[in-house]
């Protein structure tokens, strides 16, 4: 492919959201390019299906995508389990075993959350913490910890931050099916090719806004691209790269520390997982344990028994730790992660899982996610702020929606 230097639209950051945004822009008539930052989230597990408009625009029916219902979120408690899913009435009935009141209360809560998402952002509600909102509804600490672990912790929040209630709103949102992330990646890559998106594999070097307000993107190796419009695929990836983003003032936008992914294997299928095929599991006893983990993350220390979320794929367990320090602090000195630290973390996660699942597990890989703090420290304020979709539990559609909006403005 010849090295073109002029595009209408450039998306910084790949992964599923970046591909979806670039495809969307290309299908709407823009000459689009996609630049990778190296801070893309790994593609695995399931993701929410693309919205209908994106589906039509990219003609996704040509690709073989298999749908699944949205996963149930299951908290493994010391005694038994607690599950929530997308059908409020059914969840209400299953929760009634814990407390009969919940049969009515849960659907009311889900409805209110759906309304919260649509509500105009004014009054004090937008500053409400998730914990305060949950305290208003429920008495059951295990249920509250479950909701924070499943919906709030993925943003690096432990529920007591101002504005974190916003993270609970998608709970009652429209029902979505889910698709395999790897299959969607394949489909979007083909769709990108079909739409004529150029994916630039070179390492991104710098971004500036030149004369005439066009964006100038430089790559290592000397390639230089100009584009009239630019966006970042996700606020998190952009900040990890050191870009300044203009997301709407979402309280979910900032986070300290990183997420860690730990892959493990088991030999014998644990009894505790038997009833829940394809669920996302959480281990968090109470909200205090989430807060402790958040505090430890900020202090740069490893928690002893970190709250975990995990999915099971065959004999693999993909565990996520939402509160992981980006750097470890020892005697007041910060240092980078070493192989040994990773081993310690892996063992510690395996310990938590073994205790709850009652089967031996073996660590195969420990990945520490991209570090926003490091990116922010590198950030150069002479470069203009770049638009990015707000943090969301459905990042693919959020990125596509932003690309749609930006191409409309042209």
């Amino acid at each position: 492919m010849s090295a073109r230097s002029k595009f209408d639209f450039i998306v910084i950051g790949g992964g599923l959201p970046g591909l979806a945004a670039a495809c969307c822009a290309a299908r709407r008539g823009a000459e689009a390019a996609l630049a990778l930052t190296g801070h893309e989230a790994p593609v695995e597990g399931r993701v929410a299906e693309p919205s209908t408009s994106l589906w039509r625009l990219l003609e996704l029916h040509q690709y073989e995508l298999v749908f699944e219902p949205p996963p149930q979120h299951v908290s493994l408690l010391e005694e038994g389990a607690l599950a929530t899913g997308d059908d409020p009435a059914r969840v209400g009935r299953s929760l009634a075993a814990r407390n009969p009141e919940l049969e009515q209360l849960w659907p009311a809560y889900a409805k209110e959350m759906a309304r919260g998402g649509d509500k105009r952002r004014d009054g004090l509600e937008r500053f409400l913490s998730a914990n305060a909102l949950l305290d208003d509804y429920f008495d059951d600490e295990a249920l509250k910890a479950h909701l924070v672990a499943a919906y709030v912790a993925p943003f690096g929040l432990s529920g007591d931050e101002a504005g974190s209630a916003e993270a609970l709103f998608p709970l009652g949102g429209r029902r979505q099916r889910f698709v395999s992330g790897v299959a969607l990646m394949r489909a979007l890559t083909q769709a990108a090719e079909a739409a004529g998106v150029e994916i630039v594999e070179d390492r991104l070097h710098s971004i500036a806004r030149g004369e005439g307000k066009s964006w100038r993107v430089n790559f290592e190796g000397g390639r230089d691209i100009r584009a009239r419009t630019a966006m970042a695929s996700s606020a998190f990836a952009a900040e990890a790269f050191g870009l300044c983003v203009t997301t709407s003032g979402s309280p979910l936008a900032r986070r300290k520390g990183v997420g860690a992914t730990i892959r493990l294997k088991y030999e014998k299928k644990p009894q505790a997982l038997a009833d829940w095929n394809g669920a996302v599991f959480h281990i968090a006893d109470d909200r205090a344990s989430l807060r402790v983990a958040r505090d430890k993350m900020i202090e740069g220390a490893l928690p002893e028994a970190p709250p975990l979320s995990f999915e099971v794929n065959g004999k693999d367990i993909i565990a996520r730790m939402h509160f992981c320090p980006s750097r470890l602090v020892e005697n007041g000195e910060a240092r980078e992660w070493t192989g040994q630290d990773r081993q310690v973390l892996g063992r510690c996660v395996a310990g938590v899982l073994e205790k709850r699942l009652a089967v031996p597990v073996e660590v195969s890989e420990v990945l520490i996610g991209p570090d926003v703090e490091g990116g922010l420290a590198r950030r150069d304020f002479l470069t203009p702020a770049i638009p990015a979709p707000p943090p969301s539990l459905d990042p693919i559609n959020a990125a596509a929606a932003l690309a749609w909006e930006l191409t409309e403005r042209e």
Binding site: G123, A162, F381
Partner: protein, 492 residues
């Protein structure tokens, strides 16, 4: 009102236009402004009264209250002619000596317009960036100043900026990260929210929006300390014709239909007045004095917010000789600021949220340098504001000891080679202020506007946002009350 029948000599008084309840600076400011507006005002001095100078160690005196001011409301000073009532500054345009966590030091000028030179001396590479950033933020702060002091939010309020975290707004701005630490320390003093939380950028903007002696972003030392301002306000109230009564307790606020009609006391006495201004806490003002039953349900629910669990604490330390630390001794007429690293400050906040004490920021003034009567000749009184600390009682001996050692630590950090010994300490109760976040500002708007009771105005602690005394809450309450009075509110 049968339950308040005037028995046993208790009397019902009328002919009063407004009753102000409270003993805070805002209560006095509100009472004086109402009286200047031509109303017959009775101030019921109840609650925490400002305390007198006290000898906390033989020969060493502490004046309770804030020795420095950075955001006195100029409109109150003008309206009450406070300079004529005895308000004066022992020093204006106070320079700030910043000690960083790593021991380095920097001095910033008293006039923020001159900041470039001092930054050049500290970090040449950053001088341009810092002054550009500083100028831009001060401009933004100025446009928000009215909102901070209790006015309506500006129409073109930049939402993204307001919702930013302080860390997000500062990270990576300067090549020397200690400049971030300096701004973070300035913004964090007295703010109950961690710097990494969204909306905390407002704390910095509020700090820069403060105005003292006509200088935006400046700091001054009030002559006579916190007491000096209180005396000036009392004199202003007396001159304006406010009649001041001291009592331990107001029993309740009399409400007739949806209007207030006066206050009643434990002995059955009443003061009848169509306007009541309360400077007591929001819960006391609305729930204890009026009662949930008479309040709008939504409004009563809003009062149930959790109070901040982070506070500041002021300590006075007696130093038994010359400072010894050459750098500090040269700078005794300055304000000192301890600016720890971002990580240490964050950890101090987390500790405070958990109820523990850990070294965070500290603001220090050698008050004896401004008022030599406070310490024996050649000795010093250091007045220090420590932040963040948990909200706690200081009656507990072990807690006091912990705070003292924290204050000692901060003093040692500011003056590492100090030769004087600390021979005594006085600790004031914690100061709990709402964090200067959009949340608290919105809540203040709701509390002051939406009680649904006509003639009832509020200027209590929940109306104060962030650190430092400002008098704006008192002014706003008085202005609203006057408007209500003049529009014929009490009768129509």
């Amino acid at each position: 009102m049968s339950e308040t029948a005037p028995l046993k000599g208790a009397k019902i008084e009328g002919g009063i236009d407004a009753v102000v309840i409270g003993a805070s600076a805002d209560a006095f400011a509100a009472a004086a402004m109402l009286a200047r507006g031509g109303l017959h005002v009775v101030l019921i001095e109840t609650g925490d009264r400002p305390q007198d100078k006290k000898e906390f160690s033989p020969g060493y005196f502490a004046i309770p209250g804030d020795p420095v001011a950075f955001s006195l409301d100029q409109a109150v000073i003008d309206a009450l002619d406070l300079y004529r009532c005895g308000l004066s500054f022992a020093a204006r345009r106070l320079e700030t000596f910043v000690r960083f966590g790593d021991g380095a030091a920097m001095t910033t000028p008293g006039d923020p317009d001159l900041v470039v030179e001092s930054i050049t001396a500290f970090s040449e590479a950053d001088a341009g960036r810092f002054s550009a950033f500083f100028t831009q933020e001060r401009k933004l702060a100025q446009s928000l100043a009215d909102w901070f002091s209790g006015g309506a939010p500006p129409e073109n309020r930049p939402d993204e900026t307001c919702a930013a975290s302080l860390d997000g707004a500062l990270s990576g701005r300067f090549s020397d990260r200690r400049l971030e630490d300096y701004l973070r320390a300035e913004a964090s003093l007295g703010a109950a929210a961690r710097a990494s939380e969204p909306y905390t950028y407002l704390a910095l903007l509020r700090r820069l929006a403060g105005e003292i002696a006509g200088l935006q972003g400046g700091v001054a030392v009030v002559a006579g300390g916190g007491r000096g301002l209180a005396n000036a306000l009392r004199r202003a109230a007396q001159t304006a014709g406010v009649s001041i009564r001291q009592t331990d307790r107001v029993k309740s606020v009399i409400v007739e239909w949806d209007k207030v009609a006066g206050v009643s006391f434990d002995d059955g006495g009443q003061l009848r007045a169509p306007i009541i201004v309360s400077a007591l806490g929001a819960r006391e003002t609305f729930i204890d004095l009026v009662g949930r039953g008479r309040l709008d349900i939504e409004f009563a629910r809003m009062l149930d917010f959790a109070p901040p669990n982070v506070a500041s604490i002021r300590a006075h330390l007696a130093l038994n000789g010359p400072i010894g630390d050459a750098l500090v001794a040269e700078n005794l007429l300055r304000r000192f600021l301890l600016a720890p690293s971002a990580h240490d400050l964050e950890c101090a906040y987390l500790a405070a949220h958990r109820g523990e004490l850990k070294q965070g920021t500290a603001e220090l003034v050698f008050s004896s340098s401004f008022d030599s009567a406070l310490a024996p000749h050649g000795c010093h009184v250091a007045t220090m504001l420590l932040h963040p600390v948990p909200v706690m009682s200081i009656d507990d001996e072990s807690r006091r000891a912990e705070i003292e050692s924290l204050a000692h630590g901060a003093l040692r950090a500011i003056a590492p080679t100090m030769s004087a010994e600390i021979i005594g300490a006085d600790i004031e109760p914690p100061i709990v202020a709402s964090p200067p976040t959009a949340e608290a500002i919105e809540r203040r708007r709701l509390i002051t506007d939406a009680s649904g009771l006509e003639g009832y105005f509020f200027c209590g602690p929940e109306a104060l946002i962030g650190a430092g005394i400002s008098l704006s809450a008192g002014r706003r309450a008085a202005e609203r009350a006057l408007r209500y009075f003049r529009s014929g509110g009490p009768d129509g």
